[in-house]
Amino acid sequence: MGGDSVFKLIPQMPLGGVSKSWAGLNIAEVFSGELVSVAFDDDNSKKLNTRFKKKYGVVPPGPNTFVSIQGGSAFWSGQNQLMLLLDGENINADKDVAIKLDGLAYTSLQSDSWASLTVGGERVYDVLERFTALDLRQPRDGFAARSSAHHMAVFILKLSKTKFHLLTPRSSAQSFYDALCHTADNVI
């Protein structure tokens, strides 16, 4: 039998909650809740849409979009796959989502895979145009895309005209943050 543990594990954010500001730009690591991937079979897509709307208030987002849902937001991440960003801390969020969706989808906890940064301010495009290949000026709020920046993966969510949410793999988050700050230093 297992023993009686005297240890308590303490969660850590990938970058320890860093933030940095420039004139017209702010970069901050944020805790954005739990991230859960939701994948579903084509045959189940109609049922899933119905179930998803019932539980989260909207149908799953289409390509290149993210939407607010009850208890968080959701964005498209691939064919028959989306990501849910759920408010609050819940280490079993994937299991809860699977139950909510009544077994129509396969879920996986992804919160720890990604570091979460917000980048905002009036100079945000001047910096991001040197950071990632996507045209971020043109899309409306609610734009979501998966891309790369400085050879690192990134989900880009357009929160508003001057604010973006970036998700980047946890292991290379420090390199990502350094590169983003370096770019900002170059521009501002």
Binding site: L9, Q12, Y106
Partner: protein
């Protein structure tokens, strides 16, 4: 030196002097000058020495086509060679130096080479230096290498900053002359997103250099008005000092923007942009070309357009007595402009049969001799052989320009242009200002209309519309050398010689003579060279053809290409969850792809890495050790068809794996060779977690996605990487279970009976934290792999180390991991090297014949199943004190080492602290049937020959008793 600056005129700011030096001598220029214009204004004519003959050279052009005025700027680590003086915007403190001369520019010790010209003709290096053979390496080559090359590179890293960036637009306008500005204004007014880029620091193109009127006013006013209007448009981005150097695939363009020629500035000096454009209007203008005549490379002989540019734009006269040699009407403006500026001018119009046959003067022109025998004393010769449209970007995607007899130039081939590109103005052979304006407006309307923008026809400004009236005149026959390619010292004689020697294709001619192969890429020389070739062959230029223009249009610095990716930012670094713990405890890290993994963790007093690694192995095998294995690829495989999918991608069967169990899997490539291996755990009926090797994590995931999407699209199976989600630690050693019992919550029984070898399950640790436990062993010890969400990774390693203190737990690195896996005989990356099969690895029976899988059929190829094929076995030295080397080849004990006697190779070696000798794994023919045989392990490169005995690969605990307790 006498100042040649005119008392008025020009686009320079006379209230803002700028101090600079050239070859150590102090000069003063003005704001708005280039280095070239400032040198001319200071009366400097000699600016460099030619590449091959070390001939004195002066400034020839006023743009990026400059072949002569190549200078070094800055010093030490920031030294920048081969910078065109015509493109450097003058700045305070600029330190420029001439190149290719010693001890100084005026007296160059290599200048006598010019007299050896008869021995240095085209391709001389193919015909000489043949004997004596020994001289090549010791004398000829070192001498040639020392003589060759222009400028000198800094030998230390460039300390300045460079950047990369990405821009998007509806319409990209390349060039900001009359056509470009008109196009940008027209497109901008429609609301389209417009980028206009020009290599000059001031927009306006040739309108800056000429005295043309537009709408009855000086053209410069129209330029200012247009630039001002563009500045008010939020949808227009103006990019001066930006050279679009390449037309790349999918409507993208490479462009380098120079922010500063100065060094140690805040921010990047240059940015390398990738521009994504829906439509492109190429309005890059044209460059004037010279005429080849005897000694036409003397300082003071310049392009006529450049002579006008220095007078009109920079207010600097290139001479007091100027001869104009021309074959077209555009050059006649030179007479008009220079006479107005106070110079004495002489027209030599080839259309009237007059031309220059020789030039007098060495370091500067003193006189020209005409074919009539007349000698005219001049200090400058302005030459115009017509204009070459800048078609380069139309050719980057294999477009071939077409020859126009009427204009005597190559024009873009409309049939070859990519659909998104149109060409306007002089770049398309419309040399008049009216033509340029008309083209710019029309093509902009076409572009924005096609994109759905509302664009109204613009009223065109009034401008001159005179035809060029050119009558081709390329070169003057004569005995003396006449230069075609100034930068590479290629003369008309060289081209004719090449023809005599049988070089018929222009591509061969180019390579043999080096015509147009210098940094100017033949902007001035290419067409003249073709004309000389055509004359020699008796063909037309159209029949002769042209070589291909490739990117970059002008040289791009390595710094700009590298952008910010230098030093620590060269590539991303991936850190494991225990990185901070390992770093604080003396770890040495090794790069594994982007990952940094602890290689060993030294303790005070240890003398070298072997001390640390031996200790880590012994302490793990004697008690317990912990290794961060987060870097192994982890892939969630879910779906009702997950088991079937795994059967397809793995050689062995997974659909029968029971929930709560793990199984080792071998993955094959389509060609039957081993691709990757790892364990896969079944967490629930429809949920598996696959592990891959660290090195192949990405490629395996990509492979699985290909299989899922393309080969098995009907399967209900879904993949997502969870490599980063879970921090995972191997806990190995006889006390592994005891240690884990302090961590795992009491409701989970991890005893051998309840959680046997190859068991897996979801558990909680440390009072309720979610975790997974796998009973796996790479070391051959009683071992587990425990994983928690990565947010707890750092905390868990601390907890494990604290909990393990009573067992003398140690963290161990990849070296100890490697030693233990070799002792145990497990294959790893060295064995899964892309050249081995399941059979080679001793895993042939794993390929299930009850089902199909990728690689199944081709793994049965005869050549992969030979009776005497390679097999993985162990090796130990006969003399236990001898060291084995990885990569050594196995040779029969009585055989000489050669390709015929080669029987296999050593793939992995280590020193085993358990066996107290070196041991190795390797592949040898029929290995499993040769145990006990002695062979030689020979490494000819490192001079090693060790007698080794073929043994079982399982050196340690061959029965596996330790891992099942």
């Amino acid at each position: 030196m006498n100042s040649t600056r005119l008392s008025s005129g020009g686009l320079i700011d006379r209230t803002q002097p700028i101090n600079f030096t050239f070859d150590g001598k102090a000069y003063r220029g003005l704001e708005g000058d280039t280095l070239a214009s400032a040198l001319i204004a200071n009366g400097v004519k000699l600016v460099g020495r030619s590449f091959k003959y070390h001939r004195p050279r002066g400034i020839m052009s006023a743009g990026s086509e400059e072949p002569n005025a190549l200078v070094e700027i800055h010093k030490g680590e920031s030294c920048e060679p081969n910078t065109r003086a015509t493109m450097i915007k003058l700045f305070e403190g600029l330190d420029a130096r001439s190149q290719n001369s010693w001890p100084n520019l005026k007296f160059d010790i290599m200048a006598p080479l010019d007299r050896m010209a008869p021995f240095l003709t085209a391709g001389f290096y193919y015909k000489t230096f043949m004997w004596p053979a020994a001289f090549w390496e010791k004398l000829y080559e070192p001498f040639i290498r020392r003589s060759a090359g222009l400028g000198s590179l800094a030998k230390t890293p460039d300390p300045d900053q460079y950047d990369n960036g990405f821009l998007h637009c509806d319409v990209l306008v390349i060039g900001a002359g009359a056509a470009g500005l008109m196009a940008a204004v027209t497109a901008g007014r429609s609301g389209a997103q417009v980028i206009i880029a020009d290599e000059d620091f001031k927009m306006g193109g040739r309108l800056l250099n000429e005295t043309h009127t537009i709408d009855n006013d000086h053209g410069i006013y129209w330029v200012s008005k247009s630039v001002a209007e563009l500045g008010t448009m939020p949808n227009v981005r103006m990019m001066p000092r930006t050279t679009v150097f390449g037309a790349l695939d999918h409507g993208t363009y490479g462009a380098v923007q120079t922010h500063s020629d100065a060094i140690a500035v805040s921010g990047p000096r240059q940015t390398n942009w990738r521009i994504f454009a829906k439509r492109t209007i190429l309005a890059a203008g044209a460059v004037e070309r010279p005429i080849a005549f005897a000694n036409n490379d003397r300082p003071g002989i310049m392009l006529a357009g450049a002579v006008r540019a220095y007078a009109n734009r920079f207010g600097a006269l290139t001479g007091k007595k100027i001869a104009l040699l021309a074959n077209n009407d555009s050059a006649l403006r030179t007479i008009e402009d220079l006479t107005a500026a106070g110079a004495e001018t002489h027209l030599i119009d080839t259309r009237t049969g007059s031309h220059i046959v020789d030039v007098k003067g060495t370091n500067s022109v003193r006189a020209v001799v005409l074919n009539s025998g007349e000698k005219i004393n001049v200090d400058c010769v302005a030459v115009s052989g017509g204009w070459n449209p800048n078609v380069h970007l139309t050719c980057h995607k294999r477009g071939r320009p077409v020859w126009s007899d009427e204009l005597s130039c190559f024009l873009p081939n409309p049939d070859d242009l990519s659909a998104d590109m149109k060409v306007a103005g002089a770049a398309n052979g419309r040399f008049s200002t009216h033509g340029a304006l008309q083209d710019g407006a029309r093509l902009a309307i076409d572009a924005v209309s096609a994109l759905g923008f509302d664009s109204k026809k613009q009223s065109l400004p009034q401008a001159e519309d005179s035809p060029p009236n050119i009558h081709a005149f390329w070169f003057v026959e004569g005995k003396k050398r006449a230069w075609v390619d100034f930068q590479n010292d290629v003369t008309t004689k060289d081209i004719k010689l090449a023809h005599q020697e049988g070089f018929i294709s222009v591509e061969h001619l180019k390579r043999y003579t080096t015509l147009s192969m210098a940094t100017d890429q033949g902007k001035l020389s290419n067409v003249v060279g073709m004309a000389v070739m055509a004359d020699a062959t008796g063909k037309t230029i159209a029949e002769t053809g042209t070589t291909i223009f490739r990117p970059p249009y002008t040289p791009v610095s390595i710094g700009a290409l590298a952008g910010p990716h230098q030093g620590k930012d060269f590539k991303p670094t991936r850190l494991t969850p225990s990185h901070q713990y390992a770093a604080e405890n003396g770890a040495t890290f090794v790069e594994t792809g982007y990952w940094k993994r602890a290689q060993w963790i030294a303790r005070p007093g240890e003398q070298g890495w072997r001390d640390s690694v031996d200790r880590e192995v012994l302490m793990t095998r004697n008690s317990v050790g912990i290794c961060d294995v987060t870097t192994l690829g982890k892939i969630d495989v879910q779906g009702t068809d997950a088991g079937k999918f795994l059967n397809f991608v793995y050689a062995n069967t997974f659909s029968t794996l029971k929930v709560g169990k793990c199984r080792y899997g071998l993955m094959l490539r389509e060609d039957g060779m081993a691709m990757d291996d790892g364990t896969t755990a079944r967490l629930s009926e429809n949920h598996y977690v696959m592990t891959t090797t660290t090195a192949n994590a990405v490629s395996v995931f990509r492979h699985l996605e290909f299989c899922r999407q393309c080969l098995k699209p009907d399967m209900d199976v879904h993949l997502i990487s969870v490599t980063e989600q879970w921090a995972q630690y191997a806990v190995a050693g006889p006390n592994a279970r005891k240690l884990l019992q302090h961590i795992v919550d009491p409701e989970f029984d991890i005893s051998n009976s309840a959680f046997p070898y190859m068991a897996c399950g979801e558990i909680t640790v440390c009072k309720g934290t979610r975790a997974r436990l796998f009973r796996l062993s790479f070391s051959g010890e009683l071992a587990y792999e425990i994983s928690v969400p990565a947010r707890y990774g750092d905390s868990l390693i601390t907890a494990l180390m604290d909990a393990g203190k009573k067992y003398d737990v140690i963290p161990y690195g990849t070296e100890a991991l490697g030693v233990m896996r070799i002792e145990k005989g497990h294959a790893a990356g060295n064995e899964l090297n892309g050249q081995t099969t399941a059979k080679h690895l001793g895993l042939g029976k794993m390929i299930s014949k009850k089902k199909d899988c990728i690689g199944n059929v081709l793994s049965e190829r005869e050549s992969l199943n030979l009776e005497d094929g390679l097999e993985l076995v162990g090796f130990k030295p006969v003399n236990k004190s001898e060291k084995l080397l990885n990569g050594a080849h196995f040779i029969g004990i009585d055989d000489d080492a050669n390709a015929e006697t080669d029987q296999g190779y050593m793939s992995s070696v280590c020193y085993s602290p358990m066996l107290k000798s070196y041991i190795g794994l390797g592949f040898i023919k029929s290995g499993s049937r040769r145990k006990g045989e002695i062979v030689q392990a020979i490494d000819l490169l490192r001079g090693s020959n060790v007698e080794v005995e073929i043994v079982s690969p399982h050196f340690f605990d061959p029965d596996g008793g330790r891992l099942r307790v």
